[in-house]
């Protein structure tokens, strides 16, 4: 098999039949190249979108209160449902819930520091909101349990607020007035995945106390411990039932209490991506089949074209095995090398694309404070898949060459010689 002479003979044949070699090689290289591009593009799209999703915790859930729309236990509809701190304690310990944060809305929200002022949102929260909304701390710290317990007047400023009020000066420890009440700046943060950072966070208990909220809460942000739609729905139902029992409303009443689970959306979207993946695979396999047919076709023609040569070789003493070996080795070698070239070109193109995408991502990230917008990331292909595809084409080429080569090697040399 690894007889140098045989390879020299094959190389000599290839060198002198460039067109034939090129055509065989091209169909293989093209097939692999297209497959790499298809799969890479699919992966890139999938990666880009899932990255966008990951900006908030994917398992986040929100609850908000409203007015009942269904009469319940003898009570009229249109009754207002109010969440309180007691609900926070219930939710916190409910099975399947990881992080919980309540919010009390405060109006107005005029922020001022020295002579600088502006209108921003002050969000009251528990420390867990940091995990639910993937808030990044740039400086200092987030709201902590001590703030909650001691109803401290602490505030965590969004980066945009900090930039507007402080313009680069040291802010930690300074006092900012929110609706004319001084709050001590304890941290500076960025919204996870957001491009605007115009929210300020203050401890929920402080909010309630300072802005006359008593023990009232308006909504909850949670993260749940679920991996499937079913689990997510089960937890959502459990939350609804528990709160419905406490506040005496129908658990199915969406207007008494609204709820939204992000995980359900994420899973739905991932399903779409699975479908796109399958679609890409179907096209990819189609491309491969086209490649296989192309290679087979060319091999058939090659053997036909070489019938007379085979006759000559047999007349001067070539055994059938050596004839088959010559054709097969040539086919395998061409398809392997061409497949490799296709692989390298495809990978190269996708890596180049990746480079450009990353550059754009960085550029957009720079203008948006670290969070780039992109729908397309890391468009690369699993090397194992690419290798198997190449191997498939090589084997197909070998089989397509073997059948006619065997037939040609079997016929009487005189018949092969007559072939023109």
């Amino acid at each position: 098999m690894f007889d140098i002479d045989k390879w020299q003979e094959i190389f000599a044949t290839i060198k002198k039949n460039k067109m034939r070699t090129f055509l065989t090689g091209f169909s293989v290289a093209w097939g692999i190249f297209m497959l790499m591009i298809l799969l890479g593009a699919g992966n890139g799209l999938s990666n880009g979108v899932s990255e966008n999703f990951m900006r908030d915790a994917v398992n986040a859930m929100w609850l908000w209160s409203g007015r009942t729309s269904i009469p319940y236990q003898g009570m009229q509809e249109n009754r207002e449902i109010r969440f309180t701190n007691a609900d926070y304690d219930i939710l916190k310990d409910l099975e399947g819930i990881e992080h919980t944060s309540g919010r009390y809305y405060i109006g107005g929200n005029l922020f001022s520091y020295g002579s600088e002022y502006g209108e921003y949102s002050a969000i009251t929260c528990h420390p867990d909101l940091k995990d639910v909304e993937s808030i990044e701390i740039v400086d200092g710290r987030f709201v902590n349990q001590v703030d909650i317990d001691q109803t401290r007047k602490s505030v965590v400023l969004g980066k945009d607020i900090y930039d507007a009020l402080f313009d680069g000066k040291e802010a930690i420890g300074e006092y900012v007035r929110v609706n004319n009440i001084p709050f001590k700046v304890v941290g500076i943060c960025k919204e996870g995945g957001g491009t605007r950072h115009r929210n300020a966070y203050i401890p929920v208990t402080t909010g309630q106390k300072v802005f006359n909220g008593s023990n009232r809460l308006h909504n909850f942000a949670l993260t749940i411990n679920a991996e499937t739609i079913e689990e997510s729905q089960a937890i959502e139902n459990r939350v609804r039932e528990r709160l419905a029992r406490k506040h005496k409303f129908d658990a199915t009443d969406e207007s008494a209490m609204g709820s939204y689970s992000k995980l359900e959306d994420v899973i739905q979207t991932m399903k779409i991506f699975q479908a796109i993946d399958i679609f890409i695979w179907i096209i990819g396999i189609g491309t491969l089949i086209a490649g296989v047919v192309g290679v087979s076709n060319i091999m058939l023609i090659v053997v036909k074209e070489r019938t007379k040569e085979i006759g000559i070789r047999k007349a001067i003493g070539a055994s059938p095995a050596s004839v088959i070996g010559l054709i097969l080795l040539e086919a395998v070698m061409i398809t392997t090398i061409a497949g490799y070239i296709g692989l390298v070109l495809g990978t190269g193109l996708m890596e180049g694309l990746n480079f450009i995408v990353e550059k754009q991502f960085e550029a957009s990230a720079a203008t948006n404070g670290g969070n780039g917008e992109t729908l397309f990331r890391n468009p690369t292909v699993d090397l194992g898949i690419a290798m198997s595809a190449t191997l498939l084409l090589v084997i197909a080429g070998a089989i397509a060459g073997y059948i006619p080569a065997k037939r040609a090697a079997k016929i009487k040399p005189i018949e092969a010689l007559r072939d023109e």
Partner: protein, 241 residues
Amino acid sequence: MISLNNVHKSYVTGSNSLHVLKGIDLEINSGEFVSIMGSSGSGKSTLLNILGILDNYDEGSYYLNGSLVKDMSEKKAARLRNELVGFVFQSFNLISFKNAMENVALPLYYQGVNRKKRNKIAEEYLDKVGLLEWATHLPSEMSGGQKQRVAIARSLISQPKIIFADEPTGALDTSTSYEVMDILKEINDDGITVILVTHEHDIASMTQKIVRLKDGRIDEIIKNGELKNFQHQYAKELETA
């Protein structure tokens, strides 16, 4: 060297069967220079192909160098062809993408001789047929006579016992034909059996033994001494033609 006993051969195409050889008995000894003659369709090429194990036969027996050639595996036939016989064809049958030297060296490739050595031997044989300076030329760059001389060098390189030539001069003009015949005669002088098929009387008359085929049977065998007679008959045939 060669012994044929009642050899039959038919070609079957669809429902038609063409009985080409209808019982050939023939003995050819080592070192003979034989020509097989006959009109087209007389079966002379078929006979040569069977002798050269390029084709099989249906009935009878054929002994080549003492061993029976019948229902032989392609592998064994290939080895016999490689070691025992050399071929020269009317249409040269050189491999078009190989140069003269590589074409000549090819039989040695199938004997497992390494490239360097076989190319050197090929050059020697090209020198013998006077084409050493054409060693690196492709067949398409050569004249018919040159191509045939390359083919002869190729048939000789494996040092065969028999050379089979099917109309070796058929595609050549008269003077080139005579050159080729001179080479074949030299080969025969070296002790190699040469069997050629031709329909040209002047070519046949240069050999020592003429086997005339007619309708698939041997019509007559003219031996060396009777060549004069043959010339006479040849003239007579020309008259009737």
